[in-house]
């Protein structure tokens, strides 16, 4: 703990009342909408553990919806999120759930846009910081502090080398790289967290690679 951030102690600037149950929840919702990459039209929210027990007191439900609408944790419109969701035609439901032996402030979010659907699980880990640890059933670790490239591709030799070669071509430095799959030879997932923002051309270039089926680009938030 030698390098504590000044603005981790003096901050964050956020809408109350709780950094983990409100501010972190907004960021989890925002992460879901950013990963989906389009306007969220429908959402099923499953609250786990401490989130399920105290959501009403810290307005975790309002906060998640605010995030799904694209708000950040300091947005003064957060209290009006339910009303704004209705105006935007966002249909949502909340349930409590047991996700097993995971962080007590965890939430599973299944969100739908007009083209895509994403199913993710994340946790609010304190002070407004978050960690998305599952996307579409793949184990990941995304905290929003880096730009992220997520690819769905065939689990074949050489594909990861091709993807990272494209990133290098655009002079993008990879800070963290995770690859994951469920069954050998089928669908696989790559998550590259980068120091530099990923331009559209790079995303399109990756999408043209043989064996790559889908690409998502998540700017830091």
């Amino acid at each position: 703990m030698a390098h504590i951030g000044l603005f981790d102690i003096v901050g964050p600037i956020m809408v109350g009342p709780s950094s983990s149950h409100t501010a972190g929840a907004v960021r989890l919702g925002l992460a879901a909408s950013r990963i989906l990459g389009e306007r969220v039209q429908r959402a099923q929210i499953f609250l786990h553990g401490s989130f399920a027990a105290t959501y009403w007191g810290h307005r975790t439900d309002v906060a998640v919806i605010a995030g799904l609408l694209g708000m950040g944790m300091a947005d003064p419109e957060i209290p009006r999120a339910f009303e704004l969701a209705e105006q935007a035609g966002l249909i949502y439901s909340f349930q409590s759930t047991d996700l097993g032996d995971v962080h007590p402030n965890s939430v599973r979010m299944k969100v739908w846009g007009s083209h895509e659907m994403v199913d993710l699980i994340g946790a609010s880990i304190g002070g407004g910081r978050i960690n998305i640890y599952s996307i579409d059933g793949f184990d990941v670790s995304v905290d929003g502090s880096y730009s992220v490239l997520i690819t769905r591709h065939r689990d074949e030799p050489g594909i990861i080398a091709e993807i990272t070669r494209v990133l290098a071509l655009y002079n993008i430095n990879i800070a963290f790289l995770d690859v994951s799959r469920k069954v050998r030879g089928l669908d696989a997932l790559l998550i590259a967290q980068t120091d530099d923002p990923i331009p559209k051309e790079a995303v399109e270039h990756v999408l043209q690679l043989r064996g790559v089926m889908a690409v998502r680009n998540l700017p830091c938030f």
């Binding site: 703990m1 030698a2 003096v10 964050p12 009342p17 709780s18 950094s19 409590s96 002070g127």
Partner: protein, 295 residues
Amino acid sequence: MEISSAVQLQELCSSKKKALPEIIAEYEAFRASKTTEQVRKDMAQILAVMRSSVEEGIKDKGEYAHIVKGYGVRVKDAIGQGKLLGDGLLQKVILYSLAVAQHNASLGRIVACPTAGSCGVVPGALLPIAEELGSTNDELIDALFVMGGVGIVSASQGPISGAEGGCQAECGVASAMAAGAITYLAGGTNEAVFDAASLALQSHLGLVCDPIASLVEVPCVTRNATSAVNAIVASNMVLAGIPAVVPFDETVAAMKAVGRAMPETLRETSQGGLAVTPTGRRIFKEMRRKYSLEN
């Protein structure tokens, strides 16, 4: 560049022959790969939000809060009617700290400092003092860096959450940060800054985190006011030459040890203290009935 204790931070200041705010700004610039100008801009933004949280909090009727309703409004009205004891400064400290904490409870925008639950302490103590001293924005931003330095020193050696250390780690640390900042604004030396921080924290040792119904409302909001006033008392004692006796680093270590000795029921679990009084239990039951997800 590293900050690990108050002693080491003060040595850093003397070896580099630089003032405390400058060292803290350089530390953050180094740590986050930013310029010190950018870091000062970020701190100016913190100050702006602290001020807006006071202004908004004074008007906040608590629409989105469950128990705590319009505490800022009430104090403002009472001051206007001449009902309150003490001088203008004391009344303003109570007003500002309650306003910000009330605003937090009611989904208002605040600066967590060091936590959302203790967000009223620093603006509540520092802004009225700055207004009384006629401090400039730049002086106030310097004081915020000092305040952050006290916070970093504390966080590097002890807990900063009610779940780990009880309320002493939230309102107690906030009070220490505020005491350091106002002592700096009043012209105190680096040693005086950390003595005031130490005294402020010493008065919070053992303070438990026992929120009713897991809300950041009772007793959190009113504790913000007492912790803000406590910061000024600590600062005044030091300015009068009263020593902290136990230095800040040792007080933080004591706070950490006390936190470890505290049963879990008294660390943000709402299973002890005020949360389990007949009134605390009754409020919890009412809330649970009203908001059950299983309905």
